[in-house]
């Protein structure tokens, strides 16, 4: 290749302030193979792009180097411009003289020399670029949504409303997630059930949604556009086709003393149960661990009383395979518990709060159940120990959160707001009661949020004490709260009837193993990682997998719903075309050299490397080699660097190109 154009950008003054751009262009023009070189104030602007297109035509350019910003910023822009001028877009290279040069240097002469070096290297590289064609992959226009909380429900409904099939998988017997447990929601105090349950019914009735409750993801195969998901439908012991949801089985079940997990163990439920009256689907499930029939082989009452004969003790787990093209992960969160943690765990419990052994020390979600009209007390605030209405209630924020010594340094984001809400709900129900809140900071960045908090303080008379709590202990029938008020520098002791801890939002237990099945990355706290914190906040680095809700990090309802709709929009973008076009910067294995050690398979972060058998015409196996699935490959080059026999090459980044760049210096 010998007809290369070099375009040096000033980036306003971002580059030209420290780099003599004219000199760089001049030097580039003298390089062998460069047919045209010039500089311009804003190459990415419309006139800048036209300059490039005109130069292609005027000088019959075959390759292009744009010396400007990072390829992450504008590589796509210039590739598009080049393509419209008739140059293969993969013959365009960015020489990054902004982030890698002008922004980090002060001396103009040295920076100019370095910029020239960078351009020279890229000129050598573009000489060895090959024209590439985008890779196309067929798309299965069917989405999987994992998790049936508000985020999963929203994503499923959005995708289904757009006309695509959705498979929604929920681990619990009913969809609804945490939001179904809440009483009223901030900052408007509308009833959670009232806004949630219609959406749950919409999911159940939607012709495009296949709902698998009481089910888990067993295995994930395939890649973007072409996943194969194996779902384990756990044995419900009730035939969903026959059950009418009449509830006789639950009423007659003699085993009624099982702690009701949905009510945070405040109440009890039978062994055959729906988690809550508004459950979707309204089909009970038998909790086999606690069912007398499954424990002793005796009882069988539910089967006898079931009119339609839906109870089936012989049901077994079922594995079904669902082909889908995209996955939305919306598995939500769980709350930190103050109980003692296993030895060696980086997360510590709260011995100073009694490790959860004081009955009148509860967490925020338990308070939600107490305040909920459909909760175990019918919405009356009664403390667990003796059912008395608490007249002095203390809320403690940041329990576990922002506490490095307890193993968690992040902010759980929702607690400031829900604690303010709790003080209001309390005041609305216990008019002569007094609420105290121990807090570090009140973090209220959201629409209407600060006003809501101020209302709790100014109108609902919650007493906010800035300081931490050092110990909680039982004294007769009170819980003594020992804390500090750092704004006046005194120690505070409050004898409370009930203490509510705003415990940290944590990733679901098992989040890591699901991530491993999906091939997505997660952080040190097991929250799932987005591809880019700011610009790709709903996409995973793994193509075709999107995130919604608190599985990515602590989130409130509005944020979860927004992210769910954003994830749905990403899925719909993917489904808008029949075939998926992917950048052809992918790794290729040279079968002839590959020794089949599969070191590349171990290091590939995308799970793109497969084993390929090489056979002769008689079908005898000659050897096994690595094969990089171009539909999955992310083009990171890790395999290329790892391969001991140098038999993997990444298009656009071949060893030959990299050597040529080094030699150009």
């Amino acid at each position: 290749m010998s007809r290369i154009g070099v375009f040096v950008c000033h980036c306003g003054e971002n580059i030209s302030r420290t780099v003599d751009v004219e000199q760089v262009a001049q030097a580039a023009g003298a390089l062998s193979g460069v047919a045209h070189a010039c500089d311009y104030k804003y190459m990415c602007s419309d006139p800048g792009q036209n300059l490039l297109k005109k130069a292609v035509a005027d000088h019959n350019l075959e390759g292009i180097v744009v010396a400007a910003c990072s390829p992450r910023m504008h590589e796509k822009t210039f590739r598009k411009a080049a393509a419209s001028a008739g140059v293969n877009p993969f013959l365009v290279e960015m020489a990054n003289i902004r982030e890698h040069c002008s922004w980090v240097h002060e001396d103009k002469a040295e920076a100019t020399a370095k910029a020239s070096d960078i351009v020279t290297m890229l000129v050598e590289r573009v000489k060895k670029d090959k024209a590439l064609a985008p890779i196309t992959v067929p798309v299965t226009k069917r989405a999987l949504v994992i998790g049936g909380g508000i985020a999963g429900i929203q994503a499923a409904l959005d995708i289904a409303d757009c006309g695509h099939q959705v498979v929604l998988v929920e681990r619990e017997p009913s969809i609804g997630g945490h939001m179904a447990q809440l009483s009223e929601t901030f900052p408007t105090l509308d009833c959670s059930q009232c806004i949630m349950t219609p959406k749950m019914v919409d999911v159940a009735n939607h012709p495009n949604i296949t709902l698998h409750t009481y089910s888990e993801i067993e295995q994930v195969d395939g890649y973007i556009g072409n996943f194969r998901i194996t779902v384990r439908k756990k044995a419900r012991s009730v035939d969903m086709g026959k059950c009418t949801g009449c509830g006789v089985c639950m009423a007659k079940c003699p085993q009624k003393k099982i702690p009701n997990n949905f009510d945070r163990n405040l109440g009890t439920r039978p062994a055959i149960y729906v988690p809550f009256p508004q459950a979707v689907p309204n089909t009970p499930v038998i909790d086999r661990e606690n069912c007398t029939w499954f424990k002793t082989g005796k009882c069988g009452v539910c089967q006898k009383v079931c009119g339609p004969g839906a109870v089936d003790y012989t049901q077994e787990d079922e594995l079904i395979v669902e082909p889908v093209g995209a996955i939305v992960v919306a598995t939500g969160f769980e709350l930190y518990s103050i109980a003692e943690k296993p030895k060696g765990s980086p997360i510590k419990g709260y011995g100073e709060f009694g490790h959860g052994n004081l009955p009148d020390v509860i967490d925020g979600m338990t308070f939600e159940r107490l305040a909920s009209a459909s909760g175990p007390t019918g919405g009356k605030i009664q403390r667990p120990s003796d059912g008395k209405e608490p007249k002095q209630i203390v809320f403690v924020q940041c329990v576990g959160s922002r506490a490095r010594e307890k193993g968690i340094s992040y902010c759980s984001k929702i607690c400031c707001m829900y604690t303010a809400k709790h003080t209001m709900l309390y005041k609305h129900k216990v008019h002569d009661g007094q609420a105290y809140v121990f807090f570090m900071d009140a973090r209220t960045p959201g629409k209407g949020y600060d006003e809501f908090w101020r209302r709790a303080v100014e109108e609902e008379e919650a007493v906010y004490i800035r300081g931490m709590v050092s110990r909680l202990y039982q004294k007769n029938d009170k819980i003594v709260v020992m804390g500090s008020d750092i704004s006046v520098g005194v120690q505070v002791e409050i004898e409370a009837d009930l203490v509510v801890l705003a415990t940290a939002v944590q990733a679901r237990s098992g989040a890591d193993s699901l991530a491993q099945k999906l091939g997505i990355s997660y952080d040190g706290y097991n929250f799932y990682s987005e591809a880019h914190a700011k610009l790709r906040p709903v996409e995973c680095a793994t193509a075709g997998v999107y995130l919604a809700g608190a599985c990515q990090g602590p989130k409130d309802i509005p944020d979860s719903v927004s992210q769910a709709s954003a994830a749905a929009a990403k899925v719909m973008t993917l489904f808008a075309r029949d075939e998926l076009e992917r950048e052809p910067i992918v790794a290729k294995v040279v079968d002839r050299y590959c020794v089949g050690c599969l070191a590349c398979k171990k290091v590939c972060p995308y799970g793109a490397v497969e084993e390929k058998e090489i056979r002769d015409r008689q079908g005898t196996l000659l050897k096994v080699v690595a094969f990089v699935n171009p539909g999955v490959c992310g083009g990171c080059g890790t395999c290329q660097a790892t391969c001991p026999s140098k038999s993997v090459e990444l298009d656009g980044y071949t060893d030959e190109q990299i050597m040529a760049m080094i030699e150009a210096l």
């Binding site: 003692e340 011995g351 202990y473």
Partner: protein
């Protein structure tokens, strides 16, 4: 008994002075349990609270010197006083993590540091090295019917990561040890609250309040006595007890024992050797009532 345990022993200043009964009962107990105990020759003060508040290098150097001296005696280093234990452990922890300070201390001590000695509190030796079963087997006079409030104070388990004795905020090691001697332990709230410590000299009012809260909590829980492992806590709870009673109008009359006094009594050491006569709150009526004397 398979005992061949033997330790070097750092009593610290208090145990040679105001907490003499802690020293005597420790020696008595270890003898009864047939555990060797050899006092480190020529040991120095650990620096206690004053040194580390005034000059960190001094405080680290004093402890490093003691560890160096201890390295000349066989066996892990047994420490009874909670504050000495804390200072020695803190020194090891700080110097392990900080090269600059290591070099400064090495310079101050004029030679390479020898601070690797394993430092163990008596509780650790009894609960882990000897084991609760062995301890139980050595009991001749079980402390049956004696309701003990185990008081840890600030230093035995804190700061997290330094002493590594037991769970920082909900430890059970004292309860386990004294229960092995047949005593009953009470569940109470102020096991880990501060007694007021050195404020006993500068602002005794603070001590009267904090130690008063501790006594009140132990009484509320139905305890007959307190058990401690720290001479300063002992001073505040025992010596100041009458003042606390006068200030609060409450009557406690609650003996404050060192852990080794009770354990040695259970192990059959003669009561006359356990220093009960040097306690301000007279324990004799209680011990007689429980048929332990």
């Amino acid at each position: 008994m398979k005992n061949k345990l033997s330790y070097s022993y750092y009593p610290g200043c208090s145990l040679h002075a105001s907490a003499r009964e802690y020293d005597e009962s420790t020696r008595g107990l270890f003898k009864a349990l047939r555990i060797g105990l050899v006092e480190v020759p020529d040991w120095l003060c650990c620096g206690a609270t004053p040194a580390h508040n005034v000059d960190e290098l001094l405080s680290l150097s004093l402890c490093a010197k003691n560890l160096e001296l201890a390295s000349g005696v066989e066996g892990d280093l047994a420490v009874a006083c909670a504050a000495c234990f804390s200072r020695l452990k803190t020194t090891q922890h700080t110097l392990a993590a900080n090269d600059d300070k290591r070099q400064q201390v090495a310079y101050a001590l004029d030679g390479p540091l020898a601070i690797g000695k394993s430092v163990k509190h008596l509780l650790e030796i009894l609960a882990k090295d000897l084991g609760l079963e062995q301890l139980s087997a050595a009991v001749q006079k079980p402390l049956s019917g004696l309701k003990v409030a185990c008081y840890y104070g600030c230093l035995l388990t804190r700061p997290p990561d330094v002493p590594q004795l037991d769970c920082t905020e909900a430890p059970t090691i004292m309860e386990r040890v004294i229960a092995a001697a047949g005593a009953e332990t009470v569940t109470w709230s102020h096991r880990l609250e501060c007694c007021g410590a050195n404020f006993t000299l500068s602002r005794p009012g603070v001590v009267l309040k904090l130690s008063g809260d501790i006594l009140a909590s132990a009484k509320r829980a139905g305890a007959d006595c307190l058990m401690v492992a720290c001479p300063l806590c002992h001073g505040n709870l025992d010596i100041r007890q009458q003042e606390i009673e006068a200030a609060s109008g409450e009557r406690y009359a609650m003996p404050v024992f060192y852990m080794t006094q009770l354990l040695a009594l259970a192990a059959g050491v003669a009561p006359g050797k356990l220093g009960f006569d040097s306690m301000i709150t007279n324990p004799v009526p209680l011990l007689k009532e429980k048929h332990l004397l």
